[in-house]
Symmetry: C2
């Protein structure tokens, strides 16, 4: 299976790594908007400028698009599914239906297959919500994120005047987790579910009091939460907070018709958010390639794909070893 | 969707209950080997002797077979898939490949569809093993069961001379769970993973010392574990141990190619093992009925079925609300 990567940021680098753990895959090309001669990569793949991507139309089985959800994916996924089978990790939840329609139309017109939103949330978390809801129709869903770095919240802090750099950890509130697991079906405010802890590097002579206040009162991002702000040095930020951990919990509590309570919980603890997300993308690249070979086209999500298509094992091996 | 139940034990009663939570389903008949006139059920379904089951061939969309794995399901599932689409919860892991072949052959010859081994282990636990293995090919799987009642172990105690009744709880060892979650990849013996706690009612004047010794030294069942034995009265057993709770943990720890560690954990905490298992069976009854209407036949497992087929929601609703 010949794989191409579009975009060589954290996620693209993660896909490059993940492919080395999957012996049925070969990374043939990395496409970039930057100058290919100046891109140092960690594999033998060809580095190709994005303007040449159409020349690779028949040389790649699946293109994994590793761009951002804000402005790139809504343009790129419907465009490149004209030439390739594609995978993306589009994660702007509210815009998924519109993105799906665009990608589906383009994929069907060009007899290709795509999967969108294939990461962990959306992705593995979504899957677990659907399974648990189907089994326990009478129940309540909870999603907790963290402990982990929120890129969006870190960026929001960096935009404040006087801030040089910042990392923000989203942390689930332990008492809320316990209340949910106990089957109490609590109604929880954002403040009761998550804490926001910020590590901030500021310019010399910056007004820390003003900055802390601007963070804590920022609408949507920080105002609805208990927020902790630490001012630290650039060196300490680099030393202690340069990782990109994340994770979280999807819990459904429900009652069956005999008034019995049940708790279904799925959780992830990830040392590297991009390395895990890219491992999901790679598994779904395998899945859509197989579905394409069965004659399927159009846009898919994780809900449309049977688990066996993700696995390196044969159906017989799966039944024998994993069932 | 018209549903039939074969077998009216704990699991059959659970299916009868679960159907009341699924508005697209109607329970039309319960088939039994007992005298139908003497069976008191909790619904308006017809109670029918198993000898008349073939007369219901065209009146039922899916037959959920709620019999035991030891001797009934290996006979019944291949037999009744001749006349119906069927679901079972066959759970003798080592015999699944043979059971699959028998059911698959019979289903294909008669243009029906079946799903076998659709519970939580095998079932939801198996699913989570496959997803986690596909995403983290370099890693290690752990399954812990409990805290919950093991029917097989309780039965084994009841066969000892002088024992009137018994319940056995399988309990995961907390330190082992923590070691696994921490990503240490421990190699664990059965004794290190699970404790077996037994509540035993004995005949008057029975030799408790002999009975405790027979339990603790029973090969395979108890000898490889730390076993705790409590002798209690029939009244206390009834009062404190008449529930059928169960659950467990499926954990995969793995390393991506950038040497980053990840932990994927799925857990169930069930107040009623049969009510939860039957809720899974009902969701998969929906799934195979839909696949049958798409023209599919033969035997399936949870690995072959895309998550959307289990859900009451439309594809559009799933993408909008659950992704």
């Amino acid at each position: 299976m010949k794989i191409g990567i579009l975009g060589y940021g954290n996620l693209g680098k993660g896909v490059e790594l993940a492919i080395t753990q999957n012996p049925d895959m070969e990374l043939v090309a990395i496409f970039t908007r930057r100058d290919p001669d100046k891109l140092n990569i960690n594999s033998d793949a060809k580095v190709v400028h994005i303007s040449d991507i159409k020349n690779w139309k028949d040389k790649i089985d699946v293109l994994i698009i590793c761009s951002g959800s804000a402005s790139d994916l809504p343009e790129q996924t419907p465009e490149y599914v004209k030439y390739f089978n594609v995978v993306d990790s589009f994660d702007t939840h509210a815009k998924i239906p519109a993105h799906f329609e665009n990608v589906n139309k383009s994929a069907k017109e060009n007899n290709h297959i795509a999967i969108i939103s294939a990461g962990w949330d959306p992705g593995m978390f979504s899957l677990n919500r659907v399974y648990a809801n189907a089994i326990l129709p009478n129940g309540k869903d909870y999603t907790f994120w963290g402990k982990g770095i929120s890129q969006g919240h870190s960026d929001a802090i960096r935009r404040i005047e006087g801030v040089k750099n910042a990392k923000q950890y989203t942390i689930p509130v332990e008492e809320a987790l316990q209340a949910v697991r106990s089957g109490q079906n609590p109604v929880l405010t954002p403040r009761q579910m998550h804490i926001r802890e910020c590590f901030v590097v500021v310019d010399e002579n910056a007004d820390k009091e003003r900055i802390e206040n601007e963070i804590k009162t920022m609408p949507n991002y920080f105002e609805p939460y208990d927020t902790i702000v630490h001012f630290i040095s650039e060196e300490e930020l680099e030393e202690k907070h340069s990782g990109i951990p994340h994770g979280g919990f999807v819990i459904r509590t429900g009652e069956t018709a005999g008034s019995k309570k049940h708790v279904v919980e799925y959780s992830l603890k990830l040392d590297s958010n991009p390395e895990f997300t890219s491992s999901v993308l790679v598994a779904y690249a395998r899945a859509i390639y197989r579905l394409f070979n069965e004659g399927q086209t159009g846009c898919k999500t994780v809900f449309d794909i049977a688990p066996k298509y993700l696995s390196l094992k044969t159906d017989e091996e799966l039944r024998k070893e994993m069932l």
